[in-house]
């Protein structure tokens, strides 16, 4: 962590909670948890609500689809922590590691539906170029994605473009696969609340 306050500045109650989580998971406290848990009244509590709604709110996209979107956005932003975290959740949600790996290595050839592919392509462009135009959206609509679902995808994009930037700026430590597995289990059981 580049800020000491994010390592050590938490309230007593939050530190106790972190200690309990470490005991149960047998993993160090994930740095995203440290970020969200620091002065939650400024940012964390608000961001959790945005993220939970985007990732677990009622949508025609499955949880796996949305975790895959998060992993793709994170991949475009080259945020290793987030790529690994959301790849793990997507793999667990879908029960299909090759599908997730295929999307992240070659979207155009991946064994997914055209609506999902068109949506991921648009999210990738938005993340890379900071903007998309009406023609980009027409392509997604033409692939059969209703406007509601495009909006749902944009919600995921908003959440992860925010978190990716914070993870990189604050230099989140990237733990090993077991930590991401534990995180994926937790996120599938509880979401982002």
């Amino acid at each position: 962590m580049r800020l000491a306050i994010l390592d050590k500045g938490h309230s007593f109650g939050t530190k106790a909670l972190f200690a309990f989580i470490r005991l149960v998971t047998r993993q160090p406290t994930a740095e995203i948890i440290k970020l969200i848990g620091y002065r939650p009244d400024f940012f964390g509590a608000y961001m959790k609500k945005v993220t939970h709604e985007a990732m677990r709110g009622s949508s025609a996209w499955s949880v796996g689809d949305r975790e895959l979107m998060a992993a793709l956005v994170s991949r475009v932003n080259a945020c290793e922590f987030c790529i690994k975290a959301h790849t793990a959740v997507a793999v667990r949600a879908y029960g299909d590691e090759p599908k997730v790996a295929a999307v992240l290595s070659d979207l155009e050839a991946a064994p997914i539906s055209e609506p999902l592919r068109a949506t991921l392509r648009m999210l990738g462009k938005l993340t890379r170029e900071q903007t998309v135009g009406a023609d980009d959206m027409r392509s997604v609509l033409a692939a059969g994605v209703p406007p509601q679902q495009i909006e749902d995808a944009l919600a995921v994009c908003f959440a992860f473009n925010t978190i990716n930037r914070l993870a990189e700026t604050f230099a989140f430590a990237v733990p090993g696969p077991k930590a991401f597995e534990a995180g994926a289990k937790f996120l599938l059981a509880h979401g982002y609340r």
Binding site: R2, L3, A4, I5, L6, G9, Y38, R39, F42, F43, Y46, M47, K49, V50, E53, A54, G57, S58, S59, A60, N77, A78, C79, M122, L126, T127, Q130, T131, V132, G133, A134, D135, D136, M137, R138, L141, P147, Q148, Q149, I150, E151, D152, L154, A155, C157, F158, A159, N161, T162, I163, N164, R165, L166, A167, E168, T169, F170, A171
Partner: protein, 102 residues
């Protein structure tokens, strides 16, 4: 459909208008990525457009310029939310334009 409108508004209002250790003008400038002075300008530019390029030195320079860690925490968050907001608004406008011409 999901609907993050309300939560997004609450988040943005909290970080920009609510109590903080950084001034509201600093937080607004970081959100917009406009009107900042060096070295914070360079840090925020990276946060917004290439966060993987942020280094320990960038943070150290911001501290040396007089900002506390809490102030850095706040303005970095504002910068991240600001850039995501611009992306999101661009995309929503594009979607509206695409639908209205159908």
């Amino acid at each position: 459909m999901t609907n993050i409108g309300q939560q997004r508004k609450a988040l943005t209002e909290r970080i920009l208008d609510g109590a903080g250790t950084a001034s509201q003008s600093e937080r607004q400038a970081a959100f917009e990525n406009i009107g900042l002075a060096e070295p914070v300008k360079a840090l925020i530019q990276k946060v917004a457009t290439q966060a993987t390029a942020v280094t320990d030195r960038d943070i150290a320079a911001a501290r040396a310029s007089g900002l506390t860690e809490d102030q850095i925490f706040e303005i970095v968050i504002c910068a991240a939310v600001g850039q995501s907001t611009r992306q999101y608004d661009s995309a929503r406008a594009a979607l509206d334009a695409a639908i209205s011409k159908e």
